[in-house]
Amino acid sequence: MTQQQLFPVTVVGSWPRPPYLIQALRRRQGREITFEEFQKVADQAVLEALRLQEDAGVDIVTDGEQRRDNFYSFVVEKLGGMQLMKVSQLMDYMKDRARYEEVLRALDVPAFAIKSPIVVARLTEKNGLALDEMDFLKKNTKRQTKIPLPGPYMLTRAAYFEGLSDKAYATPEELAADVIKILRKEILALKARGVDFIQFDEPTLSQIIYGAESTETFMCAALPNRRDPMEELSLAVKWMNETVAGIDGVRFGVHVCRGNWSRREEVLLKGNYGPMLPHLMEMNIDQLVLEFATPRAGELEVFKEYRNEKEIGFGVVNPRTDAIETAEEIVTRVRKLAAFYDPEKIFLNPDCGFGTFAERNVNTAEVAAQKMKSIAKAAAQLRSDFKGTRTESAHSH
């Protein structure tokens, strides 16, 4: 691995999409333009997102997920056997429609607004999931690169819909085996292309813990079904470890947060990381990319028991507000963590993406850039305070 300063600054993944890109995405989804035509439009948007990140001082950049409808549904374009379906299209297949109705009411969204990639046939591979993203990113930046991928648990649970998917896979476990096979192949291909950081998005893990008795969901069609939280977390650990088994030389992260679809904090999930940590620590990954910028994330102290076991991607700005957190505020927050956590294991990032869902940007590119500048300024201050750099060797898992 390359030498890195203390407190590397990175993003969680998505960057707000410009209107012209959203327009092109709609046209692509309506099959009015080809994939190649859409890619050309997206190239421009990626370059803009990339320049803003670089100018803001981001050390490990992404392509802003500009080519994606959202962080997991984009796989529909990349795999055979999946269809992007609206919940309104799934209603005839739902076993517990009344529960979905409660979810829609709680979220205050129509069923047509929630789209999920649903497995309708055996999965077949095309040209990778994010290899095109990686190639373009690598060609256009000298910074370290991060590729976010949907985690194996998220992808399996969100894509398996009884009544549709069981025609191709008898059980979700059977689907997971194929998902893991595809993700492993993807990791190796990304590694060969020189990716520095692969982040698996598993935000639905918080749904399992904090949303089990509520109606909130992570806007996934297949998630409102009630399941045993501990069994689900064990399954998430098992599938993650099978995905990364035996692969080194790439930093692996897992991102968990409590929702990023609305600026209304009261509709998002809340609760500290305590119940989740024993499971997250069992995952053979390097870093936990977590939100901490709102009180919903709970106390930092729950990490004392697990100090230095993993790197922490420390969420220091709220991606859903207009107010720009000052560098001083960020430094104060990081100091609280660094009081009991090795500074070499602390990365700085926003709580989540700035545009998780293409048509629901939670902020503007201008505000996103200012927030990242604040983080970079705080990182510079912290590096000076802690006076050190580190040299890393290859990671092992």
Partner: protein
């Protein structure tokens, strides 16, 4: 009669705008007006328990009550279907007005909700009050090729022109008649 079928490419929102316009104008003719004005009919046949079947022209819809009321819950209840009837009529009105203005609708949903004012009267636990809905809210979600001001105007037209909604809003009298065999 003699009207040529318009090709599918002339369709908007699944309707033929030209044909729709002709139908709307034709309603000014007394014989057409008489035909569309009614009488509209429904016959409810009791099946078992709280379950009934409603026959309307050549269509049939089942209605039941929730299991909590010792019912079989095989179908939605009449009061839920009243909400659905209001929402469906609003949807039809919205599509009609959008299509007449050449506006393409991509997706549309209407979420309705209501609370009973005093259900104890239905349950025979008191003699006063209104066992019916205290009020009904209908929220439109729409994705269409028009600005918000235009879409709000279509929603207003749909509401004010909805026969079912206005029957509820205006408290249309129901005359209870009787025949014992």
């Amino acid at each position: 009669m003699g009207q040529e079928a318009q090709p599918a490419r002339d369709k908007l929102n699944g309707l033929h705008p030209r044909k729709i316009e002709e139908i709307m104008i034709s309603m000014n003719q007394p014989e057409v007006l008489k035909e569309v004005s009614g009488p509209w009919k429904s016959r409810i046949v009791w099946q078992d328990g709280f379950r009934v079947k409603a026959y309307m022209r050549n269509h049939a819809v089942e209605m039941d009550e929730p299991g909590a009321l010792d019912a079989s819950d095989k179908a939605a209840s009449a009061h839920e279907q009243l909400l659905s009837a209001v929402g469906s009529c609003l949807a039809v009105g919205f599509v009609l007005n959008a299509t007449r203005r050449g506006i393409r609708i991509h997706d549309m949903e209407i979420a309705l909700e209501a609370h009973f004012d005093n259900i104890l009267k239905w349950a025979g636990q008191c003699d006063t009050g209104n066992p019916g809905y205290r009020g009904i809210t209908a929220k439109l979600f729409v994705k269409a090729d028009a600005d918000e001001v235009t879409l709000r105007e279509l929603w207003r037209l749909a509401y004010e022109g909805s026969p079912v909604t206005q029957s509820v809003v205006r408290g249309t009298p129901v005359t209870a008649e009787f025949g014992a065999l």
